[in-house]
Symmetry: C2
Subunit: 253 residues, 2 copies
Amino acid sequence: MGTTQLESVPEPKYWHLRTVLSEALDSEFSVGEILPNERDLAARFGVARATLRQALEQLELEGRLQRRRGVGTTVAPPRVGVAVGTEQHAWPGAPEDAWQPVDSAMEVPPAAVAAALETGSDDTVHTVRRSRTSHGQLVATELLYIPAASVPDLTAIDAPSGAARARAVLREVQHLPLEGQDRAVELGSARADDARDLDRLPGSPVLVVTTRFFAQGRTAALSVATYRADTCRLTFGDSPGVEIHHTPEQRAS
Amino acid sequence: MGTTQLESVPEPKYWHLRTVLSEALDSEFSVGEILPNERDLAARFGVARATLRQALEQLELEGRLQRRRGVGTTVAPPRVGVAVGTEQHAWPGAPEDAWQPVDSAMEVPPAAVAAALETGSDDTVHTVRRSRTSHGQLVATELLYIPAASVPDLTAIDAPSGAARARAVLREVQHLPLEGQDRAVELGSARADDARDLDRLPGSPVLVVTTRFFAQGRTAALSVATYRADTCRLTFGDSPGVEIHHTPEQRAS
DNA sequence: GAGTGGTCTAGACCACTTC
DNA sequence: AAGTGGTCTAGACCACTCC
């Protein structure tokens, strides 16, 4: 029984470890349970701590584990479904909107945003910060860019900043006739400020949802929303969405 | 000029490196250009190779770099927009469908899939493998699960496997009245086989799009599509989508 | 065979949470 | 103060591509 394993396909140690741990999570652990610490686990599997960490990182990416510095590693609950495709054809700030206004100010947007809004690269636009909560946890932050031309009646009549100003901007934008919207999802890594808001480390994987709102033949508003990739499953239908674990390695014939 | 930087927020080296490299990519490199190798870069920045690699991994996650073993690290082109939300209300295999059938067989699906399809956990279902190409490159693989009950006229009349069988299954499913669909997007890591198809390493980040197709009050088909997260931006409108680089750290006041 | 990125090690120290 | 995960180092060897 010396050499039970086959040498032909030497899969990386961390990948094999990931599989072993994944199966252990399925069968021997329950949600919220604390795993042994990394040094113990590494010793138990006979690998260096860095190798073990590579396996844990994979599992965290897949939403199976949650790690917190100074605390430990716990078994993560299933990802929460977060509706993104609902409120179709409604402006941000509409009554059923899931977002909470946080702050607003006039700012010069990043160059790519200015290009999409067709504003000059030095022009300021209304920038509204919002956040979104699900099951009592902050799951996303958003930056909403609205050119001054989209809300002409708002010229300096309201508070200069703060949540009140954010609400005023959102109130104004409802008056425009919304002609359509389009949306894109891509992988990103959390900027330092988003990471802080989302209680993650800088560089954590996030899902970036970019939404363009069209009115009067132009892009009248642009939203860049940053969702925690570890805890969120973005749903686009009206139903809550399927919970499919795509991880399993086996595929029975 | 000794201590220009402030010590108060000692950001990790790899994060700072990422920022420096990111700016260098913007200003001094063009798409497709080859970067110096990791050992040289690490020496140039005075860090260990592992630390440099942490920074490169971030940039690769963000779609800025492309690394290939044995070849080198190159500057990645902007992500390609891949339409996911079009073909709304059409079965897979409809004429305008972007997917290429690859193979098909009767298989026992993973437990979570069986649950969504409401089949017994030991029942086989039609499993169609398809792939999707964009700009000459394979960007996604798909597993499409169709319970035998959804295609009653297909009982063993066609080829036992292969692309021809896949086409036969897809042809049959068109006959059902499609009542609706819903969709979810989440982050995953590539399984060994998907990784091979997508020309990535096992564990590479992927965007998993799960689509349920409803007919006759049941889930009549379920698609699990795996997109390369580094090269793809999933778009959901009818227009090609915005190309927003969310990476920039600065946010001018 | 030379050069690349990918894996792995064994250690050290740091930042953070909890007691 | 003790214990956790996060960062970093300096090396080694492996798998792969290309010449």
